[in-house]
């Protein structure tokens, strides 16, 4: 299949991005470059200098809302992507509204209690919508431990499923980028198999 055909197929779909940090910003950019039709991006945070070791932002964007900056960056890469932003903290109540109409949702939070909340909410309130999770990406090296697996048609996980990010095991661009791009790759696979 030619890229033009892939791009025009992907253009029919909408993906949700829950969190615009390391996973979300890099995954959104990969999907935008691939020709996704629209992205719904939700985050409440502002860009800090410490984010620039892995997140798809620039030094002159520090202090700005991640949703605004990411929308701007995506427009510079592929202006045909429609980007809908929600500058809010996601919770059990607003998730179904924020991501209504999405064909697939990318879990891109930092904290694992937020990951759990999002997954439980989508599986129970939005049945049938696939969720692509990022779990385990801290540190550097160990390429071979990062994997992707399908639990079932609505649940996919990318990452090593074992490392926890912390002061002595920081999240860094390479491994975060690998997992974010695996998530984007999974989203593309799901959408290419959808009519």
């Amino acid at each position: 299949m030619r890229f033009s055909e892939i791009e025009s197929h992907l253009h029919k779909f909408r993906a949700g991005i829950a969190g615009a940090g390391g996973l979300g910003s890099n995954c959104a950019v990969a999907l935008a470059r691939s020709g996704i039709g629209s992205l719904v991006i939700a985050d409440f945070d502002v860009i800090e200098p410490a984010n620039l070791n892995r997140q798809y932002y620039f030094t002159d964007q520090t202090g700005r809302l991640k949703t605004d900056a990411l929308k701007e960056n995506i427009a510079r890469i592929n202006p045909s992507v429609k980007v809908i932003t929600h500058n809010i903290k996601l919770d059990e109540k607003n998730i179904p509204d924020v991501f209504a109409g999405c064909d697939v949702i990318v879990e891109a939070f930092d904290r694992n209690d937020m990951k759990e909340m999002l997954i439980e909410t989508i599986l129970s309130e939005m049945p049938g919508i696939p969720v692509v999770i990022g779990s385990g990406l801290a540190g550097f090296g160990n390429n071979e431990t990062i994997r992707s697996r399908k639990i079932d048609d609505t649940l996919y996980v990318c990452g090593d499923e074992s490392t926890t990010a912390g002061d002595d095991l920081p999240p860094m661009a390479p491994r975060v980028g690998i997992v974010a791009n695996m998530q984007a790759n999974t989203v593309i696979d799901i959408l290419m198999n959808k009519k």
Binding site: G19, G21, G22, L23, G24, A108, F109, D110, R111, N112, D113, K115, E116, I119, E120, L123, S124, I133, G134, S135, G136, L137, A138, I151, D152, L155, V157, G159, D160, E161, S162, T163, T164, A165, G166, P171, V176
Partner: protein
């Protein structure tokens, strides 16, 4: 009883067990996780009461911080 645990066949004693019992037997102590039984999400409040039987398909994944 035989069950499918993360796509691998595993054998346990007895005819049934709760989700909590399976976690004890497998020494799965990390608490941030998602468990699906035959495709249905099991909320953690129900780990004591939901029963796993012969032939069931159990899927579990760990949620690690970092993103």
């Amino acid at each position: 009883m035989k069950i499918l645990l993360n796509n691998r066949e595993e054998e346990f004693e007895g005819e049934t067990m709760s989700v909590t019992r399976m976690l004890e037997l497998k020494k799965f102590s990390f608490r941030m996780r998602i468990i699906k039984l035959n495709g249905t999400l099991i909320p953690k409040e129900k780990y004591d009461t939901v029963i796993i039987s012969n032939g069931d398909n159990v899927q579990m994944l760990y949620l690690m911080s970092g993103g």
